[in-house]
Subunit: 329 residues, 2 copies
Amino acid sequence: LKKTQYLGERRIIDIIQRHLDPMPKMPVPFGDDVSAFEAGNGRLIVLKTDMLVDKTDVPPGMSPWQAARKAVVMNVSDFAAKGVKPIAALVALGLPKRFTKKDIEEIGSGLNAGAHEYGTYIIGGDTGEASDLVIAVSLFGIAAKDALMLRSGAKPGDVVATTGLFGKTSAGLKILVDDLKAPEKIRETLVDSVLMPTARLREGLTLAETRAVSASIDSSDGLAWSLHEIARSSRVGMRIDLLPTAKECETFAVRNDLDSMALTLYGGEEYELVLTVEPSRWKEAQKAVKNVGGQLLKIGKVTSEKGVVLEVGAKQVPIEARGYEHFKT
Amino acid sequence: LKKTQYLGERRIIDIIQRHLDPMPKMPVPFGDDVSAFEAGNGRLIVLKTDMLVDKTDVPPGMSPWQAARKAVVMNVSDFAAKGVKPIAALVALGLPKRFTKKDIEEIGSGLNAGAHEYGTYIIGGDTGEASDLVIAVSLFGIAAKDALMLRSGAKPGDVVATTGLFGKTSAGLKILVDDLKAPEKIRETLVDSVLMPTARLREGLTLAETRAVSASIDSSDGLAWSLHEIARSSRVGMRIDLLPTAKECETFAVRNDLDSMALTLYGGEEYELVLTVEPSRWKEAQKAVKNVGGQLLKIGKVTSEKGVVLEVGAKQVPIEARGYEHFKT
């Protein structure tokens, strides 16, 4: 019999989904970043749950306060990718017996900090005993149906863009988990990208208002995976001509003799948005993001050919459809 | 430093709550069975999350299918107690590595069965690796604000009632966990009450329509605890004159030389509704429940004195404020 570790997360989700009756008229398909319910008057009630488990999602050096905050940020990031403002959150909390009163206080305070940063509130939850620290956050929000940015609307010719640079979390994880070294002046930046992630909520909300985005996803499973998810859901391909590598990642790669391209593409736990924009609306989209203090980086183009490729000089290198996946580490 | 096992579930919830900023104008206070958000036009968006963890919530003999179904039923029961129809559910699923493809199929199918029984759908979720089987279900629904049955509205003179008899799950758990014996002809009923719990959704929905209920709670932490919760939230007392003991529980108690009163009062994992009804509306409430195939049993009266007491002949025995609590087993 096949055990979960050989099946992998995405196969497991497939198996479960096949046993579920779909709700009639589901406005958002299974497998997108959020779920939704048609509330009438062109409005959707948007829901999301994402679970943090310490053994897979909490690296060494991350405090209970940071873990709790991250559990909120993970969920907010999915709302950001869809352009939905989170209204309220619920938390189901599994706590190991060894946890102390101080740990629990940190968790309460970390949850609140995460909610507060994004203008939302924890309004309820449940707690019980578990072997791992488990923090399952559920988010709720309301969105205009035509503003929701799904994964599936990318069209050939659209601009492929991101809200920031990649590779810092891959490097940070290698420092925290594998004890790799980094020059002192960039070490904190790399480690902080893992311990104190931020969701691109302002960027996502303003982009949803422009209606210029044709497809969007967050990059929690890595840049490569995110590009492939949009390509797969939209039945298109992509040509990437500018790899958005953070300079700290570059420095770290040189110092440790690692491939910065791999760190950029195949990381995870990164919460930038990856999206596609109608070419005629590009400047407007870029300006909207700039107005809220963010940035929108053009990294490539949507194509009608299958596959996601990286242009390196005159050569085209395929970007593989892999990224972070639970049960496969 | 105090560890979770000495703090207990309710103390842990207190600690966390003290760190949370309350959402302005919360229509349902922290600590009731559900959370809610004011949606305008007298309507509430109602949310709930409740987490099943195998080590505390899945007794020996319960299959993955039954565990998954129970995770849905637990949540639906809280909606039933508030009189809210569940519209959709999300599931955050933690799976141990030892689980097989067959286990996962059972879980998918059990989740769907639970949702289907109560006319709702699983519309999304998340999965990851965990040491325990963890199933955190989130429910969402919409309710008329004046129909929501809180814990806090009981008034002296109100009738105290339940939707059924108690003690079967206490007995069933003693059979499954402690290997106690039961006469063959009642064994299945007792064990099934644990393995295949049912939520009193039809009862809760029709009662909410009558507007005759002043306070309501489900009995997942036991009858005694539920009575005390209504008493505490409503700042009243209760006099119970009819202990609603199931006859199978009585037979089991005699066979094993146990106290059937304790089995009835201090069990848990029971999903009857415990509620209070304005006396002038009692017959109407009882009739409404009968019309949907259920029953409403009068077990006592709300009083203005503090405390919850049981009348046994001419004597009054205090009912203790204890019940099932995580971290304290």
